[in-house]
Amino acid sequence: MSFTYILQTLLDGLLMGGIYGLVAIGLTLIFGVMKVINFAHGALMMLGMYATYWAFALLHIDPYVSIVITIPILFLVGVCFQKFLINPIIDAPEHNQLLLTLGVSLFLENIVVFLWSPDYRVVKTPYEFVYFYIGDVSISLLRLLAFCLAMLVAAVVYLVLTKTDLGKAIRASSEEPSGALLVGINVRRIYWTTFGIGAACAGVSGTAVAPFFPVYPTVGGIFVITAFMVVVLGGMGSVIGAFIGGLIVGMADSVGGLFFPGAMKNLLSFVIFILILLFRPTGLFGGSK
């Protein structure tokens, strides 16, 4: 096993990890503010992929440009999801919320099967096979773009959370909902806004992978469990944690692939996940509550 090979493996993992991080940011945001584990996150991501696909197939829009369509659509979906489904049961036990999102996920996946058939669809870009080489180490342009998109979204979400009034209100509602209510923050509005932002993040991650990943109704399932691991790893509610957690899981999967074949390659990240749950359930970047 040469040095280049290991370097390449780490780089592959890093790039994929960016995507995991992006999926997880939305998830962690929703969890952080509403304490809801959103099982439908993968389905939202899938909707993002379909939005990109249809924009590409019908309107001939470049997949990366299509985020201008994906973001508002998914934001709206997220807002409706929160307002009509999550909000009425916001005080219910956590597992009921988890099951609700599971139901929504089943519903969304299968309405897509019904509407657009279960066919696999592929978004094809002219720059699909552009690769950069640094020595023997190669980098796919698509993955690099996806990674950059992930970084960009992470940065934007982070800045919104830390620098804007909205962000401050979100963080206040996350840490002390009743306190936030007292200082005049419309917590309900914050809830649906946050859910909208979370869903939009899922949508963007769908857009980011669509150019190199087939689009089909149950595609979200591939990402959603990984996203849970990332969220726990990074600390529930921590945006930076989610992004770095994503990179860690991406690299763990990649390195795991060197040692274990097939499905076993995820074993490494699962072991990390279990250990984190046990010894540091607040995650690597969450406060020790």
Binding site: Y5, I19, S117, Y120, F129, F223
Partner: protein, 419 residues
């Protein structure tokens, strides 16, 4: 020019899909209330019913529906041509059962079809589901003609009522290896090493195992055997192992979605063997693979169950499917199409809809007119199509063509792949 034309065609279909699908909501809402099962009624059917268990929903619904299309087409053709003559022109009727790809659901599926009076059942695409379904069919003594399911186990259990047309894993994998050595010899190329990337399901696992076993007989060696999980998001690491192996031939097995992903990764990482050869690859024999990925799929080969392009019957089938569904018939649909004819042939000879008589007729099948690239369809004692043979296809000029064995070839193969 040609290129832009192709693209427009592609997009046109997409738009049609979109509108068709979206409009279907309204229709379904209307039809849904009426569409309740009349399967449960009617003890003495005016038609001869044939059950068809397939994953019509769930992750493999895409393939399940292809198979359904093939079977439906065959039934319609037979009915149009006058039905089963020895039974007074009785018409065939297909009864669907959705397995969702789950083995336990196939149990109730077989039972329902048995109850509904199906004379025979076809199915089920996935080996696991088929293994369970044939078991239940055996119990109820319903003849079961396996359309697609590769696992050897299916016909190795001494079942009396299970028949299979499709070449099983133990036929498919060695034949593919043999064909590789044949074409290499013909081209005067030295092929010594194989790298095999496959999904870790029953499907890829058994095929790759057999290739590892048979390769040495033809002077070849599998230098890398890399399984991947169809559920994992990233297969780059696995593909790198294949690249690192630097083998003469890269073989691949898998379903469509992961097949596409793996192939894209291989192209991206510039894996450059003398040939990409699939073995029962869900992607490489699917015209959508070529349509979606375009030029890069040129010269990709696949050892797979196929129709025989030189058979006049197959030509008719091609045209018919093209007219109905706007594309070339995928091989999986061929193997849902032909069983209907095999059952019809047995019914003609049995002159009865009694399952026992039909079973015996099926066991004595010797069908010479068919669409497959093989000799007559004859079942051995286990119920396996004795002469089942795969064909090697290659993407040539954007079309998937049968190129080997020579007597079935419709185009001249290109080997090794020009770089």
């Amino acid at each position: 020019m040609a290129n832009t034309k192709k693209k427009r065609g592609n997009r046109g279909i997409s738009r049609r899909d979109f509108i068709k699908g979206t409009a279907a909501v309204g229709v379904a809402a209307a039809v849904g209330s009426i569409g309740f099962p009349n399967v449960l009624r009617g003890a003495a059917p005016p038609e001869i019913q044939i059950g068809n268990i397939l994953p019509l929903s769930g992750p493999l619904a895409y393939l399940g529906n292809q198979l359904k299309n093939g079977a439906v087409m065959a039934v319609n053709e037979i009915n149009k041509a006058g039905g089963i003559r020895s039974l007074g022109g009785a018409k065939l009727k297909l009864l669907d059962a959705d397995s969702e790809g789950k083995a336990d659901l196939s149990i109730s599926g077989v039972e329902r079809l048995d109850r509904a009076g199906a004379v025979a059942i076809m199915g089920c695409l996935q080996s696991a589901v088929t293994i369970v379904a044939t078991q239940v069919a055996e119990k109820y003594r319903v003849p079961f003609v396996v359309s697609v399911a590769v696992a050897d186990k299916i016909t190795e259990r001494g079942f009396k009522y299970t028949f299979r047309l499709q070449p099983r894993a133990a036929q498919m994998a060695p034949q593919t290896v043999k064909f590789i050595s044949d074409i290499a010899r013909q081209a005067g190329e030295k092929v010594k090493t194989i790298a095999y990337i496959h999904d870790n399901t029953a499907f890829g696992g058994s095929l790759s195992g057999l290739v590892v076993e048979t390769a040495p007989k033809y002077g070849m060696e599998v230098v890398a055997r890399v399984p991947y999980s169809p559920r994992s998001a990233d297969v780059t690491t696995e593909v790198r192992k294949i690249k690192a192996a630097g083998a003469d031939i890269v073989m691949a097995s898998g379903y469509f979605s992961d097949g596409v992903r793996v192939f894209r990764a291989m192209k991206g990482l510039r894996v450059r063997p003398k040939a990409f050869v699939g073995c029962g690859n869900g992607a490489y024999s699917d015209q959508n693979f070529v349509k979606e990925l375009g030029d890069m799929t040129e010269y990709v080969m696949d050892g797979n169950y196929q129709a025989n392009p030189n058979s006049p019957l197959a030509q008719k089938m091609f045209d018919h499917y093209q007219a109905l569904y706007g594309q070339k018939i995928p091989p999986s649909a061929v193997f849902a199409y032909e069983p209907v004819y095999v059952i019809a042939d047995a019914l003609e000879r049995a002159k009865s809809t009694d399952r026992e008589v039909l079973r015996n007729a099926l066991a004595r099948t010797n069908l010479k007119k068919h669409v497959l690239p093989q000799g007559p369809i004859v079942f051995d004692a286990t119920g396996q199509n004795k002469n089942a043979q795969i064909a090697l296809t290659q993407v040539l000029g954007g079309k998937i063509r049968v190129v080997w064995p020579e007597q079935y070839a419709e185009a001249k193969l290109v080997f090794p792949m020009p770089s």
